[in-house]
């Protein structure tokens, strides 16, 4: 069995089938039993000839990041691909069109950029595509054919996979795709001499057709469905739109309700209404839409009405970089409401965790009658991972409302001040359980009051819930060096994969480095972090934002010197960058 671990990039302009070629490749490789992680980047414009890159890492062992550099670059568009060359590794493979259509700008032909350190394979992509299907549309499949021929992939198995994928399309579409693939495959087999050393296992040990191949958005949607989601109200926005589009299809099948609202304020309003009515409800958005929900976040906390908001972060501020990755909405997730409003923030670190995080979010929101923010990001939303189908959630996560007993109803205090902050809660329809909720400060019965004492007691009650939630959140993930060491890397969200990978690499090099990450950021497991920090001389906080939002958040609890690694490149965090920083600190 080969221990292959390679990164393939397909680069073209919008509309050339770049992204779908990447998807076909990843899906096939996953079916063949490889571990894959893919990630696409594309422009914010619909057309406009913008650059698209489908990036896939394919490996025999479990991968934590998509990888920063590529082993293979498949150039569908020359000028865009030129700008992708800097991430092609030394001795990397370049598959390009050696007879590009003549209207191409000569200067921008990639052929002019070939260098000794590359292994170029020129294939007449355009010509072969026209030959196969009468037009150039199938260039992406020709390129995949060339790739398959070069890297030892079985033509038959690949074609079967394409057919499964396109099963519902018109026959002519399937045929054109298959013919283009075959054309590319055969031409390459017959005309190209392989000089690189990459080779896939032709008969992989364990074929995995039943795996899920999903991105973070889909994982969130599936987790929410598994957790009994009843209503999803949404408004389109990149990179969260897909959650809505999936649930639009899936919710009605389960008797739930999906609706598209006029704006994000209305979305969260609907979620709060459904929450008040006793149903699990969720909305999803990105930074700009989350801003509009700010006012409702405070109401959820104050009126103690469950609500879950998914915020998939993108480059900011403002409309920013809608199709680029960033982790810069932690501040607004934690602090984006008026007054003192403790909010639960769950930031899964991987596509798998997205599923569990959605289950946890809906559970905590209902049980603690409060706001939960599920903070994912462009990378998680769009990165595709193969996973074993998760088991159904533990039943205790499924119905968590604490209803008052019959006796309690006689003197029912909807906002009773309790040790754990949770008050008994009736659902509309319950006879004798009528109450009144308000965003005004209120007494235990919900009546608006503004006296000094009540506000203090109720504020404490609301904050006490967090103390309680802390008891049932997953343990932080701690890896790497186990004793007293030099550098502790503390990371969050999707950067945690890169941090762990960097720590593994550093430990392999003999460095005493550990990694800490917690899926739940608020309430934060401060004690665990303090214990972790006690083991290291320096703390390194890598994050994909400029101002160090997480580093600032943990500043009041970390007593060691904190080094920061902040990047706003629009790309996911890479282990290489963290490793470099670790070496600098040493």
């Amino acid at each position: 069995m080969s221990d292959i671990d390679i990164v393939v990039e397909i680069c073209g302009s919008a509309g050339e089938g770049t992204i779908s070629a990447g998807e076909i490749l990843s899906r096939f490789m996953s079916e063949e039993g490889y571990d894959i992680m893919s990630f696409d980047s594309y422009p914010a414009e619909i057309r406009g000839f913008g650059k698209c890159v489908a990036h896939s890492r394919i490996s025999r062992t479990r991968v934590l990041t998509p990888g920063k550099y590529s082993d293979v670059l498949i150039a569908l568009n020359d000028s865009h691909s030129i700008s992708q060359l800097p991430v092609l590794k030394e001795q990397g493979v370049l598959i390009y069109d050696n007879k590009p259509p003549k209207y191409h700008d000569e200067d921008k032909s990639i052929a002019g950029w070939l260098e000794p350190g590359m292994i170029p394979y020129g294939i007449p992509l355009n010509e072969l595509a026209i030959k196969a299907a009468g037009n150039a549309r199938g260039r992406n499949m020709v390129a995949l054919g060339a790739f398959a021929a070069l890297f030892g992939i079985s033509q038959d198995a690949f074609i079967q996979s394409v057919k499964r994928r396109y099963g519902k399309k018109k026959q002519v579409v399937i045929d054109n795709n298959v013919d283009s693939f075959v054309e590319g495959f055969n031409w390459t087999r017959d005309n190209v001499r392989k000089i690189d050393f990459h080779l896939f296992d032709s008969s992989p040990s364990d074929v995995k057709r039943d795996q899920l191949i999903i991105n973070g958005n889909e994982a969130v949607a599936r987790g929410a469905l598994a957790a009994g989601l009843h209503l999803y109200a949404g408004y389109p926005i990149t990179p969260a739109t897909k959650i809505m589009e999936i649930l639009s299809k899936e919710l009605p099948k389960k008797g739930g309700v999906f609706l598209q609202t006029e704006d994000e304020i209305s979305s969260i309003g609907h979620v709060m209404g459904a929450g008040f009515a006793g149903k699990r409800a969720m909305t999803g958005t990105s930074g700009p839409g989350f801003c509009l929900m700010s006012e409702f976040t405070g109401l959820s906390v104050m009126a103690e009405v469950p609500a879950v908001i998914v915020n998939s972060q993108r480059g900011g501020p403002s409309t920013g970089l809608p199709t680029k990755h960033e982790q810069s909405d932690l501040n607004i997730a934690l602090f984006g409401g008026s007054g003192d409003s403790p909010r639960v923030v769950i930031a899964p670190t991987s596509v798998d965790q997205c599923y569990q995080a959605a289950v946890l979010a809906l559970y905590i929101a209902e049980k603690y009658q409060t706001l939960v923010i599920l903070l994912i990001d462009f990378f998680l939303s769009n990165s595709i991972k193969n996973l074993d189908p998760p088991p159904p959630p533990d039943p205790r996560y499924l119905n968590a409302n604490i209803a008052p007993g019959k006796d309690e109803l006689k003197d029912y205090k909807r906002y009773q001040i309790t040790e754990n902050g949770i008050s008994p809660r009736t659902i509309p329809g319950t006879p004798g359980g009528m109450f009144f909720s308000t965003g005004l400060e209120h007494d235990e019965r919900g009546k608006p009051v503004y006296d000094t004492k009540t506000h203090t007691l109720m504020t404490e009650k609301r904050f006490r819930k967090h103390r309680e939630i802390l008891k049932e959140i997953p343990e932080p993930r701690i890896t790497g060096w186990e004793g007293q060491g030099d550098i502790g890397v503390v990371s969050w969200g999707s950067s945690a994969g890169a941090a762990e990978e960097a720590v593994i690499l550093a430990c392999e090099k003999g460095l005493k480095v550990g990694s800490f990450s917690s899926m739940v950021l608020s309430p934060f497991p401060a004690n665990a972090l303090v214990r972790f920090c006690d083991r290291f001389k320096t703390i390194l906080v890598p994050e994909m934002n400029y101002s160090g939002q997480f580093a600032n958040m943990i500043a009041p609890i970390v007593t060691r010197p904190v080094m920061r690694l902040n990047m706003v490149t629009g790309l996911p965090m890479a282990s290489e960058d963290i490793l470099k920083k670790i070496k600098e600190i040493k």
Partner: protein
Amino acid sequence: MITPGSQYLDEQINTVKENGFLRYRTGELPTWCPGCGYFGITDAILKACLELNLKNEEICAISGIGCAGRYPVFMNVYGFHTLHGRSIPVASGVKLAREDLTVFAVAGDGDALGIGGGHLPHIARKNIDITLFLFDNSIYGLTKGQSSATTLFGQATSSHPGGNPDTPLNPIKLALAYGASFVARGFAGDPEGLKHLAKEAITHKGFSFLHITTPCVTFDKFNFTWKNLKENHSYIDQSIHNVTDMESAMRIAEHERFKLGVFYKDSNRLSYHENLRNIASKKA
């Protein structure tokens, strides 16, 4: 200090104690000013609930912020005092999650036509089965008398002491243009008539828009006063107007700003839930 507000309530309590009318009231005394039109509206809605024999626990009253927004505080139902302008989406969320409940959205003119004006077209076109009670006093009451979207042109208010430079909106015209399937206007000074309209609105399948004119006795001493409203209001002659005739409804709304009664009603239009079910079954 003499408190006409609670006196008024005392009287009410005496006259209606026997007939169970107080079933929907909590023990809270309304914090509205003595003489406020909201007392009459409250009466009318309570009586409508009683006559329809709605179960307390099956009513959800969802309000925005403002004097009108306080309405659910005084109601013995499931009440939710949300945010300024947001009673509509929250009420809609309640109904979509729980078709079995009777859902009221309560909004002031600021709530419904100012800050929350963007929600109205969409609940109307979706035809979600809730009733909107629009308490329209043509002023921002709770914040002490600023102009609202229905304040008269030229009217002096706290925010426009020299006179309001904005032309008012015509709420009935808006509701009609949005395609609301039930559109009516009632008056706080005629709780009996209002009760009938409320009953019709509540029982209508789909979105019901009930515009209620009412005076703010504290912050409008000259325009929408009890006196002026009483003098100007009259019911639509239903023998002339057919409530399924949109054009006639628009015409009355345009030319007769003080007409009361049902302007428009489409009993055949499917509610949102019905549409969703049809689509789901079509696909299945």
